[in-house]
Symmetry: C2
Subunit: 184 residues, 2 copies
Amino acid sequence: MGVSAAETAKKHEEILDKSIRLFRQDGLNVSVGEVMKAAGLTHGPFYNHFSSKEALIVEALTRAMDRGSSELEEYPKTERGRRDYLDTYLSSAHASDLKGGCTIAALAVEVAREPAIAKPFTEKLKETIATFSEHFPWARGKRQARGLAIHAFSSMIGAVILARAVDDPVFAREILDETRKRIG
Amino acid sequence: MGVSAAETAKKHEEILDKSIRLFRQDGLNVSVGEVMKAAGLTHGPFYNHFSSKEALIVEALTRAMDRGSSELEEYPKTERGRRDYLDTYLSSAHASDLKGGCTIAALAVEVAREPAIAKPFTEKLKETIATFSEHFPWARGKRQARGLAIHAFSSMIGAVILARAVDDPVFAREILDETRKRIG
DNA sequence: CGATGAGCATGATGAGTATCATGGAGTTAT
DNA sequence: ATAACTCCATGATACTCATCATGCTCATCG
């Protein structure tokens, strides 16, 4: 089954997109076979696309975090835009959408265990914090924008992680709402 | 090699203690064999102690979170005690000690992926939040102690998780310090 | 249009995994 | 003390996994 260059490129994209969803959902130990199945292929051709599973992880993680960054930057720099972003991030819908949600919240802990992927993660997190402190300047003029951004972002990450781990929807929502009230 | 009841009980404890350290360090997919080796046994007798790997996970997680709770309660209810607790939690030493550190920060994401263990996790987290809002009443009298406790705890969890995932010690410390400055 | 080569499916390999089966040794209840 | 029982080590079973090898099929380039 020879395949055109365009289709090959499309499959490559597909592997990346499906894999990051699986990684967020089930963790980095999702098997190569599952990734390929999700992309509509068998396990074999994986190594025509990536040199190893670790290479896929690095590439998928980098891309996903890039997307997260540009999504963040797309939000208008108005008060309203910021509110929407925070509302969305701390929504029950986001907490329920592990697969499609924030990559940092889903995978940061596993990154800590796999130092090989820490470098791209660190870069992207720095960008995110920078964007945050630029566009969400709660303390504009107080020279504390960055510190406040770090605190706000940490609490958002923590809240989503806790809300997801919790069995009780009321408690989960309380975590999200109480956090939302206190940032931005 | 028959073994006395006392030694058996001790081995049981050892399996629980070593396993939770391994789980925090490397995640819940640490193998039964590794756990048993860490406890000084071979893989076989595992099923004399636990009915399944999942049973071990539930028991180890519950115990670890109980310990975390009582540790938290042990801190004196003085201003100084609270400060020490927060300083310790948001220290570089804690961030570096994945194995021995906070179970919630290490395993919450994996709990979200393994609903079987969500119930004990939820119970223990509720206790933790309750203790927090009782003993760390930043807003005593304002009727917002609980909300503030949730926000503070979320940001602590998030900060430790991010600091651990990050490659750059200066950035990691910044995350911890900026968070520390803004709670309690 | 014909040769080349990339990407495909199938299948093999070797390592790791959870769990169960077996038999021995010492502890314990009788 | 003796019998029974419990926990141990070793080994077996039946997966699953990452990675590599093979051969085929078409897209692409000359």
